[in-house]
Symmetry: D2
C-alpha cells in the first residue's frame, strides 16, 4: 500500500474509556486531524476554505477496528487520496508504533459544498494533486 501522507500521534489518556482502551469515536478525530494536516501540507486550510464558502464534508465512512490502542501507545496515521467522480476517497489506516501492528483500516469519502451546493473544485484538486477518474 502506498500512502501520500502520515502523521505521528500518541494516545492521550482522556481518549480512553472505561474499558481502558481508546474510545472508537476518537479514531474519527485522529483521521480528521490527519486529513486536515494533509491539506495544510498541500497549502490548503480547512478553516480558511470554510470562511471562503467552501466546505469539505464527509459523506461516508467505513472503519474496521483491528487492534485497540491503549494508554501510552504511539501510532502513525497514514493517508492515501484518490478522486472518484466528485468524491474524494481517503484510505486512512492507523498503525501502532513501533511494531507496525494494524489498528484501524478506514475509508472516508468527502465531497465539496460551495456555498452549500455540491460542486467540483478543480483548484483544490490541482493543489491536492488528485485527478478525477471515471467511476466504474
Amino acid at each position: 500500500m502506498h500512502y501520500d501522507f502520515e502523521l505521528p500521534f500518541k494516545v492521550r489518556d482522556y481518549e480512553c474509556d472505561l474499558q481502558g482502551i481508546v474510545n472508537n469515536a476518537n479514531y474519527q478525530h485522529y483521521t480528521e486531524h490527519t486529513r486536515h494536516e494533509f491539506l495544510l501540507s498541500r497549502g490548503v486550510s480547512f478553516a480558511a476554505l470554510h470562511e471562503q464558502g467552501t466546505d469539505a464534508v464527509v459523506a461516508r465512512i467505513q472503519m474496521q477496528f483491528k487492534t485497540p490502542l491503549r494508554s501510552g501507545d504511539s501510532f502513525v496515521s497514514r493517508l492515501a487520496l484518490r478522486k472518484e467522480g466528485i468524491r474524494y476517497v481517503f484510505q486512512q489506516d492507523i498503525y501502532r508504533q513501533p511494531d507496525e501492528r494494524l489498528v484501524l483500516r478506514s475509508t472516508v469519502e468527502a465531497v465539496c459544498l460551495v456555498n452549500g451546493r455540491l460542486s467540483d473544485c478543480p483548484e483544490l484538486d490541482a493543489l491536492l494533486g488528485c485527478e478525477a477518474q471515471q467511476e466504474v
Copy 2:
C-alpha cells in the same frame, strides 16, 4: 424499517465544530450511547459487563451522513439488532425532529470478548432477545 429501541437527543453546542455543524465523530458518541441505553433497557450494563470480564467491542462501522445536525436541533436515534454468527449487527439511524429527516444511516458490528477471547455469549443473547441466524 422496524426498530427495537429509540432515544431522543438534543444537539449540544460543544458538539458543533467550526463549520457550525455537529462534528462527525459525535455521531459515534450518539450511537454508542444509544446502544448502551438499549442494553440497559434489557437489563444489561456495559460497565458491569466490563467489570465481569466481558467486553463488547466494535469490530466494524459504516456510516452515511445524509443531513448535518446543527445547534438547536433535536433528533431521535433508532436501533435494530440482529445476530449474524457471533456478531451483533446494529442498524443505527438518526432522524432529525420533528421533520423526521434522515441524518445518519449506520451499521455497527460488535463482538464479545470474554477475558480477552472472542466468545459467544448465550446469556447475553437471551437478554437481548436476539437469536443467531445462519450467515449467508
Copy 3:
C-alpha cells in the same frame, strides 16, 4: 441556594475515562450545555448571537470536584446568574440524582465581545433578567 435554571442529564459511557469515572473535562461540557439551554429558555440562541457578531466568551472558571459521577448515574445541573460589572457570573452546581449528593461546585465568568470588542449588552441583560450590580 436559589437557582434560576436546571437541566437533567444522564452520564454517557463515552464520558467516562480509564478510571471508570466521568473525565473532568466533561463537567465543562455539562455546564456549557446548561448555560446555553438557560439562554434558550430566555429566548437567546448562542449560535444566533455568534452569527450576529456577539460572542459570549468565558474568562474564568473555578471548579471543585466533590463526588465523581459514574456510568449509569443521573444528575441535575443547576445555574444561578448574577451580573457584576460587565461580567456574567454563573454559579453552576451539579447534584447526583436521586440522592442530591453534590458532585461539582463551579463558578463561570463570561463577558460579551461585540465584533471582537469587550462590550456591555443591555438587550441581552434585559432578556436574561440580570441587572448589573456595583462591583465591590
Copy 4:
C-alpha cells in the same frame, strides 16, 4: 516563572467549536495530557497507577482564559508542581507559539486515593521530586 515540564501541541480542528475557537473544555484535555506526560517523564504511568489501586484525582481547578486558540495555532503547555500538605498543586499555563502570548493560566489541585481512601504517597513524591511544605 519557573516550570518543571513542557509539551508542544497543535490545535486540532475538531477541538474548535462554532465560534471558530478552541472550546474551553479542551484546555482541560491539554492540561491533563501535560500532567500525564510529566508523570511519564518521571517514570510514573497514570494508567498503571490506576491498575495498582492508586488514583490521582483532581479536587479543584481554576482557569483564566486570556487569548483563544484557533485552527492552525501551535502552543506549548507548561507545568510547575508543588506539594501543599497532601495536595499536589500544578501551575499549568499555555502559551501560543511562536509569539509566546499567554493563552491560559490555570491551577490544578490533585490528591491521591489509595483503594478509594485519601492518602499520602511518599513513593510517588520521591519520583516527582516534590517535598511537602507546610500549609500556611
